[in-house]
Amino acid sequence: MTPGLEHYLVVSALLFCLGLLGVITRRNLLVMYMSLELMLNAANLALVSFSRFNNNLNGQILVFFIITVAAAEVSVGLALIVALYRKRQTAHVEDLTTMKL
């Protein structure tokens, strides 16, 4: 069966849900962050497939911007995690339950 738009969308939806499952079940900050990246990538896949099957390049431009913003977001997030680890010596969300440092 030739893969159409539906196939790509199903793959994207499954990948998004995998990322969601990772954020819900894993309690390590870094692994949760990787799951967030997985969800972002699923959205990218959906955008690229829509762009291809609608004969419109705007979706690919949006993916380009998403990748750029994701790179900035990852750098800031990881810097925050490192700063938090310096204060509290842990990267486990169940040890990080108070707002005050």
Binding site: C17, N41, S51, R52, F53, I67, V74, V76, V82
Partner: protein
Amino acid sequence: MSLPDILFYVFAALTLLCGVLVIANPFSRNPVTSAMFLVLTIISMAGLFVLLHAFFLAAVQILVYAGAVMVLFLFVIMLLDLKDEERRRIKKFSLIGGLVSVGSIVTIFVKSILAAQPGANLSAPMLEGETAALGKLLFTQYLLPFEVVSVLLLVAMVGVILLSKKDLK
């Protein structure tokens, strides 16, 4: 079935398999293993992008994600020394709750996609995501967002330098 069709199924299966191994690896709870499988997920996703004729984005995906972002992740994992992660267990309650809620969301997604048939009355794809067309669009219609995003990168860089100072006030 032609070769691109077979390649779609191969890359899709690889993407999903490596995605599962990122979040729940039965053999190792080490974050480094998760990061490595995330690299594999991203590379097989770049394969899917090539199948969708988005060649430039496939290259950017590998360069930026599998290159820069994952190196950053690995650096931080090595910096943090997360030995006690392997002794922690996944809580049964969160596992069951997560599986139930995510399972229902998967059902909703897949059923609605299959019911809506979004690709049914579209013409055959003609689009080539070649770099020239993408660049032309980027520097004419999307010039302002392009510049804004470059400012955003600068802001992120300044923020990271500020955050990683030794005495954070």
